[in-house]
């Protein structure tokens, strides 16, 4: 089961420069473990130490922000497309 994962510029150091890679998993959590197995270190950039999605990144499954679809428990199936993007945010404090 292959799922295409789009990788943002800042994380391409983990994928040898590739803009997208294939990964597998029936949930987002499993997919991220699989990604990390092939691109060591990537998981730490997506998930915090206490196991939640990092606030600095947005992950989409088929154009839906996973924060609205069950976060790391979001179910995946063959042919789904996953996009990882850095959040663009900041502020004066």
């Amino acid at each position: 089961m292959a799922i295409e994962v789009k990788i943002p510029t800042i994380l391409r150091t983990y994928t040898g420069g590739a803009k997208s890679v294939d990964a597998k998993g029936d949930t987002l959590s499993a997919l991220i473990d699989d990604l990390d197995a092939n691109h060591a270190g990537l998981k730490g950039r997506l998930i915090t130490e206490d196991g939640n999605l990092h606030r600095f990144v947005n992950i989409y499954v088929n154009d839906e922000d996973v924060r609205f679809t069950g976060s790391l428990e979001t179910a995946l199936s063959d042919g789904d497309a996953v996009t990882i993007l850095p959040a663009v945010a900041g502020g004066s404090r």
Binding site: A87, V88, A89, G91, S92
Partner: protein
């Protein structure tokens, strides 16, 4: 150094003035690898706040799809500070994650004059750079 057209510079300042006292935000896109900001793209500050800005997550995805299709990248990522200086805050630094982008900060705290400064933010390190208006 950031080299930017006068017209785009003026649009960024106008956007910051228009949204004052809330923070304004957006990007200027350019061809991948060109380092030339050519397409002004104002974004909605989903936080609508005088101290915080964020791109709406659906807007962000739509923006990156458009950039991808055009073989563009965000050459400039800009936002305004409306009561403090045009210098990246700790929050700005923690979120900065476009290693190739020029981070432009505009301060609208003074009514008569607008501060416009540009920075590189890589791995948490801020480096100010000169701005040349073309």
């Amino acid at each position: 150094m950031l080299r930017i057209d006068r017209e785009i510079y003026d649009e960024i300042v106008a956007h910051a003035r228009r949204d004052h006292p809330d923070e304004a935000c957006g990007i200027v896109a350019g061809s991948e690898g060109s380092d030339r900001p050519t397409r002004f793209v104002p974004m909605l500050n989903a936080a609508r706040s005088p101290t915080f800005y964020e791109f709406d997550s659906a807007d962000l995805l739509a923006l990156y799809k458009e950039l991808d299709a055009n073989e563009e990248e965000p050459v400039v990522v800009y936002h305004s500070h409306t009561a403090t200086e045009a210098y990246p805050s700790r929050t700005d630094i923690s979120y900065a994650s476009e290693p190739n982008a020029h981070y432009v900060l505009v301060s609208t705290r003074e009514e008569q004059s607008t501060e416009f400064r540009s920075f590189r933010i890589v791995d948490g390190v801020v480096t100010e750079e000169p701005v040349e208006i073309l």
